[in-house]
Symmetry: C2
Subunit: 234 residues, 2 copies
């Protein structure tokens, strides 16, 4: 699955969040994912043909931006205006649209009666309408609230969440996530030349695999118990 990340940020160079996400992407080490920062050309307009070339080549487009006045930054709106034109926009149907949205306010402030008044689902309605219009499959947004105030552990979790958001299929399950972990560990084991590291990574991958199998067993047992309780024939 080919993925393109379009970063829209008025001061991308100064953003700790964007630097972290760029690093996370690098450590994912995937040839299937490209990242591009939207920079308005000197004339004030994007070149649609140039811009849409790599958008049309991917299966998943990820728009990555901080919430500015409860909306995407102006540069992304400009990109929409300049690039989502015929004959390109008609060719987008069927692709996936991901949103990686960072906010300066804590998550709990977005909601009815809260300080920001509306939920993020409500505030992102224009992008949901855009997805409907273009026939894109909208993925649940990955929200990053107050990155600068997050703990190291939260940052670790974000790194994993972000990599999974970019790489896993739409509507991914817990099992998909586990498979992803095993692949990651095996990949890292293959890349390292240190035999001790290799051993540890192989052990971790094995543990994950065992855990997955045990989970499957537990699920089967649960299904069995339910059947018995409901008096069904075995």
């Amino acid at each position: 699955m080919k993925t393109l990340i379009l970063v829209a940020h008025p001061t991308e160079q100064d953003s700790g969040t964007q630097a972290f996400l760029a690093q996370a992407l690098e450590s994912a080490n995937s040839s299937e994912i490209n990242r591009r920062v939207l920079t308005l050309p000197a004339g004030g307009h994007f070149n649609a043909q140039q811009e849409m070339q790599d958008v049309l080549a991917v299966d998943r487009l990820v728009l990555q931006f901080p919430l500015y006045w409860y909306s995407a930054p102006a540069v992304l709106h400009q990109w929409f205006e300049d690039c989502l034109l015929s004959p390109y926009k008609e060719k987008l149907a069927g692709k996936e649209l991901g949103l990686v949205v960072s906010t300066g306010r804590p998550s709990h402030e977005f909601g009815l009666g809260q300080r920001q008044g509306y939920s993020l689902s409500e505030l992102l309605r224009p992008l949901a309408a855009l997805a409907i219009d273009l026939g894109l499959q909208l993925l649940p947004p990955l929200v990053i609230a107050q990155f600068a105030y997050q703990t190291d552990q939260q940052h670790q979790q974000l790194l994993v969440d972000y990599q999974q958001y970019l790489q896993l299929p739409a509507g991914y399950s817990f099992a998909d996530q586990e498979k992803w972990w095993i692949e990651q560990l095996e990949q890292r084991a293959a890349q390292t030349t240190d035999p001790k590291k290799q051993q540890i990574l192989a052990l971790l991958a094995d543990q994950f695999g065992t855990r997955s199998d045990r989970l499957d067993d537990l699920k089967d047992e649960l299904a069995l118990i339910k059947q018995v309780e409901e008096g069904d024939e075995l």
Copy 2:
């Protein structure tokens, strides 16, 4: 009441809707209303101090724009980013925020299960959140759907609706609208030198006044009937 209209339109010069609204404003002939088209300076950024000077001087700010990809045009987002900063944004609390939104699609297409999927109230959530944030009193938007397809009669109605939207107090009633009509007729009668026109305009104003009085009488009668039916003492 001082009002400032900020027009955000990528190709304002070519817009029939904007030309019509500019004309309607001119015919309102009010010294209390100013209109400005947002034009991005060569550097790509607005000057906050310069821009906010006349915003801070008004009681009502009206943002007037066509819906672009279910949102305001990029130039308005840029204006927000560049201008809604300290120490200006803190001084906006208490002012009114009006929205004059034109759409290329018919009104009935905006809603659950309809072609555009969401109502305009939903799509304009980011501006509602902005109003909450800044302490602005949001007025119900004036929506202009498919101006180019409207009949002459609909354009006439729009002219009146627009002038009233700009001039009447927030939450205006039917009585406010009638008063507005009388003032308009009297004003026009005072401006003309043609005695025949003066007579007709005075007559119309008188008729409006009589109609208003009769409506008040009818309301009193209705209240009386209700009281009798409910068995209250008179």
